[in-house]
Symmetry: C2
Subunit: 372 residues, 2 copies
């Protein structure tokens, strides 16, 4: 039996990947260029320009890291932290917890500020922790993919900067789906993924580092523990006047990202944000008669990832069974809960290409049949 078998057409409404448009899939089938080919380097430069528009930043060090969003998180933290540095991490879901764990492995002294999963971080609690810890870095998650909470950024980032800390923001699920404003917010390091609201294949992590962040990296006394993620080395390939080999860039994935960026920019960010907001609202309204209740209060709710408590009918049938039937019989994927929310919620993604009314209606129709 060949290893590669026919691939089913699924509607991907989990926490990512989302479905990629035809232009992105076609781009990845184009012939390979060498990673030092002037034409490829010019393409990488245009990709960097596009990413700067999405992140709303002028940061020269904005680039597609050659690994997934979790590696973007690790890159942000291991470049900015040295052993013994203090960091304050907001934790209101899996990804805040992961940040804390990555920071610990970088030898940092970690203070976490916890909030109930499904709620936003309390800016005052973050401010208090920042005042007490006087940390080198403050890190938190803009769009918590494990809960569907959108975290207001401004107040926390301002307090962090007033305290002289660098600010790291996880934008994995928000980028290209709702406003991300690195420069206006004063963010020093941000990372995202390609497989969420960008509707590209997973495998790259768009990252951006401010000049303050780069100065911090330059003044380190210990080398960055990861060679692969060392920003100074990455800069020699991605941003040097003469491009020097560091590792071999993932050519096809970058073609796909280029096509995805073209699609985002052709639509325009405001229209794209509005489309995500509309789709999220339509989903919540449509799920209500079926007995699904939003986990997150309306003010803190993400449009591209809706987490819902499950109705009695789904619990009777078994939530994993219903998800499996949705996949098997309707070719629709939705996500289960993580950690303490496993078995308690579903996570329904309407990301990028899938943030459309007809997609919402297809899911609702399938659920009505399954739960009848």
């Amino acid at each position: 039996m060949p290893i590669l078998q026919p691939i089913r057409e699924r509607l991907l409404l989990g926490p990512g990947p989302s479905n990629a448009p035809a232009s992105v899939l076609e781009a990845m089938s184009r012939p390979l260029l060498g990673h030092l080919d002037p034409e490829f380097l010019a393409l990488v430069d245009r990709v960097k320009d596009g990413l700067r528009i999405l992140f709303a930043t002028a940061n020269p060090m904005t680039l597609p890291l050659s690994a997934t969003g979790s590696a973007g998180m690790e890159a942000a933290l291991v470049n900015l932290l040295e052993p013994g540095d203090r960091i304050v991490v907001g934790v209101h879901g899996v990804f805040g917890g992961r940040m804390a764990e990555v920071a610990r492995r970088a030898g940092a002294e970690v203070t976490t500020v916890d909030a109930k999963w499904g709620t936003a971080l309390d800016p005052q609690a973050m401010a208090d922790a920042i005042r007490r810890a006087s940390p080198r870095v403050v890190a938190f998650v803009h769009a918590e993919t494990s809960t569907g909470v959108c975290q207001p950024v401004d107040a926390i980032a301002q307090r962090a900067r007033e305290a002289g800390a660098l600010v790291v923001l996880d934008c994995v699920t928000s980028l290209a789906g709702r406003p991300v404003e690195l420069d206006a917010w004063g963010i020093d390091a941000a990372y995202s993924g390609t497989q969420k609201c960008l509707s590209c294949s997973p495998g790259l992590s768009p990252v951006s580092f401010s000049e303050r962040a780069l100065e911090r990296v330059k003044s380190r006394t210990h080398p960055v523990q990861s060679w692969y993620l060392d920003l100074s080395l990455l800069a020699s390939y991605f941003a040097g006047a003469k491009r020097v080999y560091h590792h071999t860039a993932p050519i096809s994935a970058i073609y796909g990202l280029a096509a995805g960026l073209d699609r985002v920019l052709a639509e325009g960010l405001p229209a794209r944000f509005a489309r995500h907001a509309d789709a999220g609202r339509r989903l919540v309204v449509g799920l209500e008669p079926l007995g699904f209740e939003p986990l997150v209060a309306e003010a803190d709710r993400l449009p591209m990832l809706t987490s819902v408590r499950l109705p009695a009918r789904v619990r009777e049938l078994g939530e994993a069974t219903v998800r499996a039937r949705l996949l098997d019989e309707f070719d629709i994927e939705v996500g289960g809960g993580l950690g303490p929310l496993a078995g308690e919620i579903w996570r329904i993604g309407l990301m990028g290409e899938n943030a459309r009314p007809e997609v919402v209606d297809r899911l609702l129709e399938a659920l009505r049949k399954l739960l009848a």
Copy 2:
């Protein structure tokens, strides 16, 4: 101007990427599946089976790591090394040097055994260093992409195991191009890349870890410094009875790898190795009348990466200029030298799809015209 522009058809005869066949490019354009979709998990299982054939190993922990070969190197070293552990690294080119650097960043005490670039490591010198250092790990490069040297593995690996060390082998350029025999050689951790003799796009690193290596990881007293590359966490997704989310696997890249493995296995490894050997010989013979001299003695020469000293005519014209003209006028990429060999040699890859007589002849014809 759109970010994605038409892509030129290049003949990629540098140190990688090589050209991908149509089946691999087509595979990457298939619709996305979720990374926890049972159909995708079954595909990953078949990919792991295919990789075990290529690595000639029964290691259950054989998988496509979600980043390029350099991350595979880092994964091998940071999982097996703890701060203060001793390691002996053979250095006869860029990639041995990189291993030493990665090991240092993992807090290891590094002993290097150097050999002149363009020659193989002396097994006796390695044995002496192993005896003196009594290291936890011995690491070296099978196919040095910076010089074109093929390193005999058997004797060094045997000495390392006799001394109780784990053996790490860099197979980035050798895998699928000449025999790699992890189990017969007694290798504990190996890594490769997809963009060399596998003729897939860059972005994944096939890795394999022995049971001894996994025991070492289990008995660690410090957590692995990299969360992204932590083998125990990777195992929960790639090898657990129940597949648990760690990071989002690069779906399209794994489709491409699956198609590439199918092509390798349909050809058969012995035929593929013979094709690489034939192409390498044809190239050396054809380059001789043009004044290019092999850097590496015949016995130590890799077939898929030929490094050649440059004739006077190329030096007169400027070697970088000639390479640029080869690219601009003939759409052929060859690689320059690295480190002390920059400006001194070219590195010509005949990897995977490109290890064919007609490819060699196209390059020779272009060079004859350019150097006439």
